[in-house]
């Protein structure tokens, strides 16, 4: 990265610390690109690129007060990106360990979902309202609009594991409401 771009990045972030929104937007666009290149180079394949970039931007936003204008901005941005990437790798490892178990449970739920006793429209509405916004979105995309898990992951910017887990939790909520009704 040449010295001119480095200076610009530092200046934009310094102005953003003072509350300059235009400077902040320009800074975040540059930072996102920098992080994208870094993550592509260092990610091991299992982590969602978009998730890590978004986590990094959020961390930059939350911790922008820690930036010292006397120092270059690029190492500061990449230190945060590295931290978020390591976190994502650890999360991915934990998910891989539980994914097999989740897949088996989801498959079982899918089998059990097919036709049970008919429900009233009111009860269905009640069950639907019990879901969180994310669960509603994913179940609608999966079951109503017929997208695959991979397509939903791309569309929503989540990882495939996250889509499956959210759907699974949504089915549990639906089942609880529908089976709990008299």
């Amino acid at each position: 990265m040449d010295a001119g771009v480095e200076t610009l990045l530092s200046e934009l972030l310094t102005r953003a610390q003072a509350g300059d929104r235009l400077a902040y937007e320009a800074f975040l666009v540059q930072a996102a690109e920098l992080v994208r290149v870094f993550v592509r180079r260092h990610a091991r394949g299992g982590e969602s690129l978009e998730d890590v970039i978004q986590d990094t931007l959020l961390a930059i936003h939350q911790y922008r007060h820690t930036y010292d204008p006397a120092r270059p901005a690029r190492p500061w941005i990449l230190a945060i990106a590295k931290h978020r990437l390591i976190d994502a790798v650890r999360k991915q490892r934990r998910r891989s360990a539980t994914e097999v178990q989740e897949e088996a449970t989801t498959a079982e739920l899918h089998a059990r979902e097919s036709p049970a006793a008919p429900c009233s429209a009111g009860l269905l509405a009640q069950a639907w309202a019990a879901l969180s916004k994310a669960q509603r979105e994913i179940i609608e995309l999966l079951k109503v609009e017929g997208y695959s898990v991979a397509e939903i992951a791309r569309k929503t910017g989540r990882s495939e594991a996250s889509v499956k887990v959210t759907a699974h939790r949504g089915y549990k909520v639906l089942r609880k409401v529908l089976e709990g009704a008299p």
Partner: protein, 228 residues
Amino acid sequence: MSSELIARLVTDLRPVRRLHTTTTRTALWLGTALACAVFGVSLLGVRPDLITQLRHWPFVAEQLCLLAVSVLGAYSAFRLGVPAVGKTRMLKLLPLVACGAWIVSIAARAAPAAAPMLPTVFCWRCGCRMASLALVPALVSLVMLRRTVPLAPRWSGCFSLLAASALGMLATQVLCVRDEPLHVLYFHALPVALMAGLGAWAGNRWSSALTRNFRAYQHEAPTPSAPL
């Protein structure tokens, strides 16, 4: 998706108060911690032989090592929470080297060969004194750490409580008349080590709590923009 997030972050932008330099924060913390230690010691009363002890270099060397542990621990705890500002390996090593120097300064006073390995009298008072003298400095350092990035939360937590407990123990050694090496090792050094371990655990919990808040922020609706 990044462009939507960027738009949201720009909407949420507020001016921020920059973090002070690590040296300033360490000095602020040390000033507060020393004030608490002096207040505690004045309430509990110094040991009667303090002036005599200050003429013995082993005693002075131990106190200087403890002070070094406290200062370096605080400095490392605060520095580790700022991205890209130094060699992290050195930051993690320095407080541990100071701890090692303190242990060596205690062990150097121990009689060789035939000395017992365990103390004969169990003394919990020193640990309690240390904990009460270190309480406020520990809380202050944990509050100060909240403004930093949890890049190495276990280390930051460990070093912040190490710093507080070392200073608490420095004050305790101004109160406690027992200087036998075994007493100091088991009832002064061990409580400090336990506090450092507690700090590492607390640092980890802090990082987990921050990650949960992080994820909650991701799913919140954007806040309406306010005039700057």
